[in-house]
Amino acid sequence: MKKIEAIIKPFKLEEVKDALVAAGIEGMTVSEVKGYGRQQGHSELYRGAEYVVEFIPKVKIEIVVSNEYYLNKALTAIRENAKTGKIGDGKIFVSEIIKTIRIRTDEEDEEAL
């Protein structure tokens, strides 16, 4: 089993989610994160004091998939739908998962996904 972690632009979440669901991925976990990278932050003003906000709001999607087939489908769905072509589109990281449990049913591994 593999875990995909994708850092994307927040306003792309809806599209990516729809594409994932269309690709047969039925579960995912999403969180709000702040990214630092090549994309320039914006500056904020407070009574004449200007400061740069370097951390940019991003969304992290985590998906655990059971096999290569779904891994590839998920990667494609994310790549295609999160891309704007402009700096800051984000990154996808893949890692290994050695065990999965569905709490409700006590199913394990592939069955739990």
Partner: protein, 435 residues
Amino acid sequence: MKFKFLSLFAVLVPMAAFAEDKLDSGNTAWMMISTALVLLMTPAGLALFYSGMTRSKNTLNTFAMVMGAFVLAMVLWIFAGYSIAFGASQNATLQNAVGGLGNIMLDGIKWTDLSGSYPTYIFVVFQGTFAAIAVAIASGSVIGRMKFSSWLIFVALWGLIVYAPIAHMVWGGKGALLFDAGALDFAGGTVVHMNGGLAGLVLAVLVGKRTGYLKTAMKPYSVLLAAVGAALLWFGWYGFNGGSAFGANAIAGLAVLTTTAGAAIGGAVWMLLEWIIFKKPTLLGIASGIVAGLVAITPAAGFVSVGGAFIIGAFGSIIAFLGVVWLKKKFGYDDSLDAFGIHFLAGLWGAIATGIFALEDKKLLWDGPLKESGNRMEQIFVQFESVVAVGLFTLIGTVIVYFIASALTGGARVDTRVEEIGLDETIHGEKAMNL
């Protein structure tokens, strides 16, 4: 806001030579609602304005500084402050500086007593809201680093030792030190705003800068709430300035107009300045400009034309803007929420500008060079004089009071760990928001 002003009212209602002896329900209604309006300015208006600008880890402490100061100052005002400021003087020498202790706990004042045409008790509370907001303003300069205990002791002492005497010297009637100088201060530009703003600066300097000042970005908790606070301040200011006519009369009407003009132009000008200089007009900027305009027009509200009000409000906004953006940077003090930058500077400008723009109308003017001899230069000089006198007294008084408060509480500053974690959690055991 001078006592002698009451006689002007008689001019407006000529059929009532003895008007001062009879309760007028319209004036009474106006003074009560004015009192409620000025009250609202502190625990709602100023508290929101200030805590909205504070970092989220200190926002409740900021609110508590304002609200706690308000209740304490009000209790002490009724207990002794009123007597010191407006009490019947028992001694001619004393009368220079204080009214005396004859009205402690309002002793000797009956519920049927009138101040002109409305009950004296209303005058007591009305004045109390001024005393309480003056010290609450000062909190804005030292948020995020002062012990709550030191702050409250400071508040208690300052109200009695600094505010009440100043109020007496300026408004305390014949024999009071500054009373005869003939300075024009319609609703407390010097007594409240300069006074509170300068006390703030003194605290900021004595307590020292916040850790990380100018190094870390100190983001405001909620600019939206700060703007709501400014709107409530504007609303309450109709009582502050309008109520300082001490009746529902034509002078109050003038004050309503000039207050509106000053606030509106102040907000517009600050917005414009930010737009031109920083390319971004901020909501906090509009709100700050409104407050600056209101502060500036306060001493002038019942004396100037609408044209004068526009000029005073506009320059009040510009001067406060410079104070906040330039002066503070130049001298490097940490006047955190700009109590000095806005209240002192715009109040100072307003006090001087009152001399420049006051209409030569004997029905409006108070006794002084302009009224007596039409000598505007001398009037402006008197305005300077009063500004300097009030400034010096505040400066010295605030330093003394600070050191007493600090000594009584083993230093007025919280330790670094507390500052780091935030005062909400450490001092109050509370958190701004639980989502």
